[in-house]
């Protein structure tokens, strides 16, 4: 995945990346499961801001 993303991550660094990210995603994914389509993100584009 890192290669696909264009990241040149040496093998020795992978442990410090993969483990914590996996743990975070394991905690995060179940939270996102019950989101409904009408749940909008907290950041939003507002056309008038650039007017």
């Amino acid at each position: 995945m890192a290669k696909a993303r264009g990241l040149e991550v040496p093998d020795r660094d992978m442990d410090r990346i993969a483990g914590p990210l996996e743990t975070l995603e394991e905690a995060f994914r179940p939270l996102a499961k019950d989101l409904k389509a009408e749940d909008e993100p907290a950041t939003g584009f507002r056309a008038e801001e650039t007017a």
Binding site: L24, L35, P41
Partner: protein, 463 residues
């Protein structure tokens, strides 16, 4: 001495701004080699600025309580013609052509900027053990971390070098060093203080605010820096008020929320006891302490971490081919953010809005929350895990556990010292309020301070 006391003395001509500034510079020369709080000291500029402040006061031009008062800013705030490193190798020679809005506003208020304060690399961490500029040390015990990322700000204020220091807070980076260094730290509502000219860490989580020696001093600084800034897309047009609490302000009848869940779990025993002591003091001063159940803060923390990882990596991606220019901890976080799917980021922002709504319901039952700033006191420099509630925890995750979620909610939060551990390290209370209620939480903090909640000044350098 507080800002208020210094301001009174300056006007009574007990000393001049030049004398006050020269004394601060002498303290930097003497103590910075021990603390490593400053990356850049702008002594000549500061003396010139102080001279100007004296002339203005003599001519009857009074810019207010910060006029002629020595301050410093985290080296994340752009300062015209003065290098601004963000604590990183990547920006080590960056010379901004303009000041950050906050720096402009502090100058307009007459403050004398002594320089740029050390921090965790890119403000992305909580130890301030900077691999490029050296570790900042805690004035209460120089073997311990001052916290971070605004570690230099906490150390410089606690050591009595400056009266106020600016910090930034993306996941606790004002409140943690304030807590570990025994200073006051204020994270205003998201959008209350301009982010313009400050290196971003995470666009939707970054907040700017002061670290000071007293609650009223934090309010004085907020008066100078709050307000709408068209150069910051997230800046709020919510009206500003006078944030400085009245003398003798009270908290009788105030509804203080005391969370039954999450915030008092897995605390160091001394932290719990000191924070409960502050709550008892609030009750003795007439506040009504009400137990409340807060929404799922553990989940909120996870959401905030997903947002932080993604936004920080988006900011720094152009530099990620220079891997040897980053410290190992920061590089690991930046790599993690690059590998996080975009769907996760969007869903985190969707969950954030939902949790914001859930949290907002609290404010119909209570006026504020009283919680600890951190579950622990300052860890030793280099310590990577701590034991809390019988469980070994990663220092970074433990230290941010009680502060991070508040960034995702954008709520104002005040950290103030409320006790010392047996080993002589500060313990802090965190007061969280509804959006844009800075005046309320500052009033509560001032009433507690007047009511005896606090700690003696840091004994540095006698320790």
């Amino acid at each position: 001495m507080t800002i208020r006391e210094a301001a009174e003395s300056l006007r009574a001509r007990r000393f001049s701004a030049v004398e006050l500034t020269a004394s601060a510079i002498a303290r930097i020369e003497r103590y910075n080699p021990k603390l490593n709080a400053f990356i850049t000291v702008t002594a000549e500029r500061a003396i010139e600025r102080a001279r100007q402040a004296d002339s203005e006061l003599a001519a009857g031009r009074d810019r207010g309580p910060l006029h002629g008062v020595p301050i410093a800013v985290k080296d994340l705030f752009a300062t015209r013609g003065v290098r601004t490193t963000a604590g990183s190798r990547v920006y080590e020679n960056y010379l901004p052509s303009a000041d950050a809005t906050v720096v402009e506003k502090l100058e307009a208020a007459g403050a004398v900027n002594l320089g740029k304060l050390n921090l965790h690399e890119l403000a992305y961490g909580i130890t301030s053990a900077n691999p490029h500029f050296g570790a900042v040390r805690n004035p209460w015990n120089t073997e311990h971390s001052p916290g971070g990322s605004s570690g230099g700000s906490g150390a410089a204020v606690a050591a009595g070098i400056v009266y106020a220091a600016m910090g930034s807070d993306t996941g606790g980076s004002i409140r943690i060093p304030a807590g570990f260094c025994g200073t006051v730290g204020l994270k205003p509502t998201y959008g209350r203080v301009s982010r313009h000219g400050v290196f971003p860490l995470a666009y939707s989580l970054d907040h700017m605010g002061p670290l000071t020696r007293s609650v009223r001093d934090a309010a004085i600084v907020l008066n100078a820096i709050a307000g709408h800034d068209r150069r910051d897309p997230a800046s709020s047009r919510h009206p500003v008020v006078d944030y400085v609490p009245d003398d003798g302000c009270g908290i009788r009848g105030l509804r203080v929320g005391f969370p039954d869940n999450f915030y008092f779990e897995r605390l160091d025993g001394e932290v719990e006891s000191a924070v409960r002591g502050a709550i008892a003091r609030a009750e003795a001063l007439g506040a009504e302490v009400k137990p409340v159940v807060v929404p799922d803060v553990a989940a909120l923390n996870v959401v905030a971490r997903v947002i932080l990882l993604a936004e920080a990596s988006a900011v720094m991606e152009p530099y990620l081919d220079k891997r040897d220019q980053f410290g190992a901890d920061v590089l690991a976080l930046l790599d993690q953010g690059c590998l996080l799917p975009a769907v996760d980021y969007v869903n985190a922002q969707r969950l954030r809005r939902r949790m914001q709504r859930e949290f907002a319901r609290l404010w119909s039952a209570v006026d504020c929350l009283f919680i600890p700033t951190t579950p622990n006191t300052a860890p030793a420099i280099g310590e990577t895990t701590i034991r809390l509630g019988g469980r070994e925890e990663d220092v970074r995750l433990a230290t941010t556990r009680l502060v991070r979620g508040i960034n995702a909610l954008g709520l104002p939060a005040l950290s103030m010292p409320c006790g010392l551990s047996a080993s002589g390290l500060p313990i802090s209370l965190q007061i969280v309020g509804p959006p844009f209620e800075e005046a309320l939480i500052l009033k509560i903090g001032a009433a507690l301070e007047d009511g005896g909640v606090g700690i003696p000044p840091c004994p540095f350098p006698s320790r």
